[in-house]
Symmetry: C2
Subunit: 349 residues, 2 copies
C-alpha cells in the first residue's frame, strides 16, 4: 500500500525529475518559476542550485512538490564539457546528473551547457545496456504529424551502424511517446534512390535495409516535414544543421511576415486579422512549446532546453518529460535495442 501510494497519484504514475536551476540565460528566476508551475503531487521536482539563491525565490509559493538540492558552482558553455563534468563536482549539472544516477530521480532537465549535459549523460548517468551512441532526439512539427529527427547533435562523426541504432532509438520513441504502432524510419539523404549520397549515407542505407526496422528509404531535406517517415535518422552534424536551419528559416519567415504586415496600413489590418490563426501555426514550431530535446539511450531521461528557455519552456519540458517517462520511453529503448540486433558491439568510450 505504502509503495503503491508513492507510485501513483490518482490515475497517474508519480514521476520525480531533477531540474538545473542554475542553467540557461534566465536562470534562476525563470527556471524556478517554471518548476513551480509544473510541480504537482504526480510530478515532484528536485531543484539543484545554490540554496541561498533559490530559497528566496520559493518563499511564499506553494513549494510542497519541490525539493532543493544544494550545488555551489555552474558549468558555463565556455568550459570544456568533459573536463568540467569530471572536475566541477559541486556544479549544478554534476549534482543534478548524480540524482538520476543514484535513482533518486528519473530524469534531468537543464537549459545550461548542451555539451556539459551530454557529457554528464554519458559519464555520470551512463548508457543503457546495448546502446553505443545515445542520440539527441527532437520532434519536428511535420505537416501531417510529428517527425522524430535524430541524431540532432550528440555525435558529430558517425559510422553507418550508429545510424541503425538511431533508427532503433527513434522507433522506441515513436512507439511509446507518440503511440505509433510501427514507426516508418527514413534516412536523411541528398537523393531518393538507394545509391545516392555520401559514403556514410550509402553504407547506412545498406545496413538499414537489412535491419529489422521498418525502413522506408531515403528522405530528402525538402521532405523532412512531410509524411515520408515518422523517424528520420542522420549523423549528429547533419541533424544539428538541419534542425537549426529549420529554426532559422521559421524565425526568418515570421520576422519578414511581421515586417510585411507593418509595411502598409492595408497589410497591417491583414496581419491583425490573421494573427490568431498564425499564432496556432507558430506554436508547433516553437521550442517554447515543445520544451526541449531528449538525449535518449542513457539510464534516465535527459532533457536539454534552449539556453533562452522561459518559465513556460521549462514547465513544458518537465511536463512532457514526465509524460514520456510515464509512457515508458526508457523501457521502450531497452526492448527495441534488445529485439533489433543492433547495439551489441562493445561501446568505444
Amino acid at each position: 500500500m505504502g509503495d503503491e501510494k508513492r507510485l501513483t497519484v490518482g490515475q497517474r504514475t508519480a514521476i520525480t525529475l531533477t531540474l538545473d536551476a542554475e542553467g540557461g540565460d534566465h536562470a534562476p528566476d525563470e527556471v524556478v518559476a517554471g518548476a513551480l508551475s509544473a510541480a504537482a503531487p504526480e510530478l515532484r521536482v528536485l531543484l539543484v542550485g545554490r540554496p541561498e539563491v533559490l530559497e528566496p525565490l520559493l518563499d511564499g509559493a506553494d513549494a510542497s512538490n519541490v525539493e532543493v538540492i544544494p550545488s555551489a558552482s555552474v558549468i558555463s558553455s565556455d568550459d570544456e564539457p568533459a573536463t568540467a563534468v569530471k572536475n566541477m563536482l559541486d556544479s549544478s549539472i554534476v549534482i543534478g546528473a548524480r540524482t538520476v544516477a543514484d535513482g533518486r530521480s528519473q530524469g534531468f532537465v537543464s537549459a545550461g551547457s548542451t555539451g556539459a549535459m551530454l557529457a554528464a549523460g554519458l559519464l555520470l548517468i551512463k548508457r543503457m545496456q546495448g546502446v553505443r551512441r545515445p542520440a539527441i532526439v527532437t520532434v519536428l512539427p511535420g505537416v501531417v504529424g510529428p517527425v522524430v529527427l535524430l541524431d540532432a547533435g550528440a555525435n558529430a562523426d558517425c559510422r553507418p551502424e550508429h545510424l541503425v541504432e538511431f533508427g532503433a532509438l527513434g522507433t522506441a520513441y515513436g512507439r511509446t511517446v507518440l503511440g505509433l504502432d510501427a514507426p516508418r524510419v527514413g534516412l536523411l539523404n541528398i537523393g531518393e534512390e538507394a545509391g545516392k549520397g555520401s559514403e556514410l549515407a550509402r553504407a547506412a542505407h545498406e545496413l538499414l535495409s537489412r535491419s529489422g526496422l521498418r525502413f522506408v528509404g531515403n528522405v530528402e531535406g525538402r521532405d523532412l516535414l512531410g509524411d515520408s517517415a515518422d523517424v528520420v535518422v542522420t549523423d549528429g552534424f547533419t541533424g544539428n544543421v538541419a534542425l537549426k536551419v529549420l529554426e532559422g528559416c521559421a524565425s526568418s519567415i515570421f520576422g519578414r511576415m511581421r515586417a510585411a504586415a507593418g509595411a502598409s496600413s492595408r497589410a497591417k489590418v491583414g496581419g491583425l486579422l490573421l494573427r490568431p490563426a498564425l499564432r496556432s501555426m507558430k506554436a508547433g514550431m516553437d521550442p517554447e512549446e515543445y520544451g526541449g530535446t531528449y538525449l535518449l539511450g542513457v539510464r534516465g531521461l535527459v532533457v536539454i532546453c534552449h539556453g533562452n528557455a522561459s518559465r513556460k519552456a521549462i514547465a513544458n519540458a518537465l511536463r512532457f518529460g514526465a509524460d514520456a517517462l510515464r509512457k515508458g520511453v526508457l523501457e521502450g529503448v531497452t526492448s527495441e535495442l534488445g529485439g533489433s540486433g543492433v547495439g551489441e558491439e562493445t561501446a568505444p568510450y
Copy 2:
C-alpha cells in the same frame, strides 16, 4: 569593327547560352517559351532538342535570336549520370555541353537530370585550371542580403582543403556577381567556437583560418540566413540537406499560412489584405525567381534549374546566367584561385 559589333549590343556584351529544350518536367513547351521570352540580340540562345518537336513550337514566334541544335535522345534521372554522359552522345545534355566545350556558347542551362549536368560539366566542359572540385553555388535570400551557399550538392564527400576551395569559388562569385568588395566567408558548423563540429569541420576551420580568404569563423544553421557571412561553405552533403530543408520549411510555412488564412472568415480577410506584402517576401525564396543554381569551377557557366521549372524560371535562369557572365564570374574564379594558393594539387578525377 565587325568583331566589336558581335561582342556588344548597345551597352551590353552579347552572350550566347545553350539551353536543353528536352530537360525538365515541362519540356519542351515551357522551356521553349522561356527561351523565346529571354532571347534578345544581347542574349542569343542555342536550343538543343529534336528539331521536329522544337520547330512547331518556334513557328510564328520571333525566333531570330534562337538557333536550334539537333539532338535525338534525352538522359533521364534514372540513367546513371557518368555512364549516360559517356554513352548517350546524341542526347541533349551531351550535345549541349559540347557547344560550351567547343566555344560556341558561354554557358549551358538545363532543368534535366542534375547528376547528368554535373557529369557533363566535369567530363565534357571540364574544370578550369587550378580547380579540383567544382561546386554547386546557390544564393539564399538572407535577411540582410544574399548569402552564397556552397557546395550545395556536387561533392557528397569532401576533404578539408575542398572547403577552402569552395571559399575561393564563393568569394569569386561574391566579388563579381554580387559586387561585394571583400566577401566574408563562414563555415557551416554546429557550434560557434573553433573546436566544434565533425572532424571535417574542425580541420576545415583550421585551414580556412590560415587561408588568404576573409574567414569569419563558424556559422550555425540558424544563422545561415542572417548577416554572419556573405559566403557559407560546407560539404555537398550537408549543403544539399540545408538547402532542401530551407525549401521544405518555406513551402511548409506558406502552405500552413494558406490553410490558416482559410480557416475563418476573419483570417480569410486578413490573408487577402496581407497578400501583396507576402508575395514580395515569398519571391525572394522562390526558385522560379532566381532561376537555378550554378556549377562553378568548369570552363563555362553551368546552370541547373529545378526539374519543375516553368517558362519564367527558364527565362530567369538565362537572364541571370548572362548577367553573371557579363560581370565576369568565370574570370573571377581564375583570379581568385590563382591568388589564394588553393587548387594547386593535381585533380583526383
